[in-house]
């Protein structure tokens, strides 16, 4: 699956359906401290969510018999969280979707215009402003990598801000 995604993006473009950014419904996200090696529907609302308790100093739950402790983490200010899913390619060749992209076609004349037929689409299926971060037995501390990553946007802004001319 991943290698095919790579081929898709190598020469082509993955268009983000902008309308989906506005319509995306809120989603509940949990970041677990373990690898579940599948991508598929799961009865989270039946087994996981009802087991979450407010314990001393944070949320508690168990997963596969192990105790997890966690807390809500906010998305950094100025950012919005989205869950995005790639569309199947054949959606694009069905014509109706082409119209939406025509404005852009005029803006960008590509030397490989013919290959643009292979472009893909991605859309937001849901949005979020917070998620629950879980750790095994203890809440992930201030050292947790994910917390560090969440401070990246503020630093990136400084690195990439335009500098004044002399």
């Amino acid at each position: 699956m991943e290698s095919s995604d790579e081929v898709a993006v190598h020469k082509h473009r993955i268009h983000l359906r902008t309308a989906t950014l506005r319509d995306a419904a809120p989603v509940t996200l949990h970041l677990l401290p373990c690898e579940v090696p599948v991508n598929q529907p799961a009865p989270v609302g039946r087994f996981f969510t009802p087991a979450i308790r407010q314990g001393l100093g944070g949320l508690e739950v168990s997963f596969r018999g192990r105790k997890l402790r966690g807390e809500e983490v906010s998305v950094p200010p100025g950012l919005v969280g989205y869950v995005m899913v790639m569309e199947d390619k054949h959606d694009f060749s069905e014509g109706s979707e082409n119209n939406e992209e025509q404005g852009e076609q005029e803006l960008v004349e590509s030397p490989e215009a013919l290959e643009r037929d292979f472009d893909c689409f991605i859309g937001a299926t849901a949005s979020f402003s917070r998620f629950t971060l879980w750790g095994l037995e203890t809440i992930p501390g201030p050292d947790a990598k994910v917390r560090g990553a969440l401070t990246w946007p503020s630093l990136a802004a400084a690195i990439h801000a335009q500098v004044p001319e002399d």
């Binding site: 991508n39 991605i122 690195i159």
Partner: protein, 309 residues
């Protein structure tokens, strides 16, 4: 796409968790389309990297991925392996233009920009030529000539180093306002310089900022910038001391911002581990290689990142 055959209803399609700038949502009211993920060169490594390009607003965003072992998402009523978190943050396109200007400079002459920004491997680089105020941007790093109303450019190392110095300075300011503790980082690099006693606080910030900027420029330019900033040259021949023996900074603990901890993770998890349970220890076997670059914060290399989009 073939691998997605088992999920015709889309239920098993890979779900990507993204953080996007809020204004893209508002901007999307005005534009029906125009946001797209494209592959462009990574100006540091020369390999491919994914960027988000906004045609309407003519903006470039870089995509970074948080990736750490042993994580997964519960997304509503589904499970998504990997636990990846993608960040889209605004990127100064001049870093990318610089990559092409330096390449073209080997010919040592003034050239029009459309002959400079040429790339068989990443044809989408032509989108860079559509960015607004390109001429103003280029003034920071090039000499220009105008003949018959057509502009010709040539890479200027001198101007580029001046521009990079300003970048370093504004990054230093951000490190200070964000209370990023740069001490721990220097503590470890100090072993390479052999000069840790005299390294003043200001120099620590400059070195840290230099490290961050170096993720966007070639190794060669990074070395030149280091000299330009008069940073002591690291002597790579010294072996890296075992992290257990590295002393933590003298700074008070509360001054340490998450970001830095993240960076100097291997120093501190070492200490923390002693208090961990057996189960946590098993999970604590995290990747400890290369903590210097921004990429390593996100725990993923370019090649991998490409596959995730």
């Amino acid at each position: 796409m073939a691998g997605r055959g088992d999920g015709a209803d889309g239920a098993r399609a890979r779900q990507h968790v993204f953080l996007l700038p809020e204004y893209l949502k508002d901007a999307s009211k005005k534009m029906k389309s125009g946001l797209m993920f494209i592959k462009l060169v990574n100006p540091c490594s020369g390999e491919g990297a994914i960027y988000l390009f906004n045609i309407c607003l003519q903006q470039l965003f870089e995509i970074k991925v948080f990736k750490e072992k042993h994580h997964s998402w519960f997304i509503n009523q589904s499970v998504q392996s990997g636990g990846l978190l993608h960040f889209a943050t605004p990127m100064d396109p001049l870093f990318l233009l610089l990559h092409y200007l330096i390449k073209a400079d080997k010919e040592g002459k003034f050239q029009p920009l459309d002959q400079v920004v040429v790339d068989d491997k990443f044809p989408n680089c032509i989108l860079l030529l559509k960015l607004p105020e390109l001429e103003k941007l280029l003034r920071h790093v090039t000499e220009e000539r105008e003949i018959d109303k057509k502009k010709y450019y040539k890479f200027s190392k001198e101007k580029t180093l001046k521009w990079l110095e300003k970048k370093v300075n504004q990054t230093v300011a951000a490190l200070k306002t964000n209370n990023v503790n740069v001490g721990a980082r220097v503590q470890s690099t100090a072993f390479f310089s052999g000069d840790q006693v005299s390294s003043g606080k200001e120099e620590d910030y400059i070195r840290y900022a230099h490290g961050l900027i170096s993720d966007y420029i070639s190794k060669e330019l990074s070395d030149d910038l280091s000299k330009y900033l008069k940073l002591p040259e690291p002597s790579a021949s010294l072996p890296k001391p075992p992290s257990k023996k590295v002393k933590l900074s003298d700074e008070p603990v509360e001054a340490k911002e998450d970001y830095t901890k993240f960076n100097s993770k291997d120093l501190k998890t070492e200490k923390k581990n002693s208090k961990m349970t057996a189960a946590q220890k098993a999970l604590a076997k995290v990747d400890k290689s290369g903590m210097k670059s921004i990429d390593s914060f996100f725990g993923v290399k370019n090649k991998k990142r490409i596959g995730k989009i």
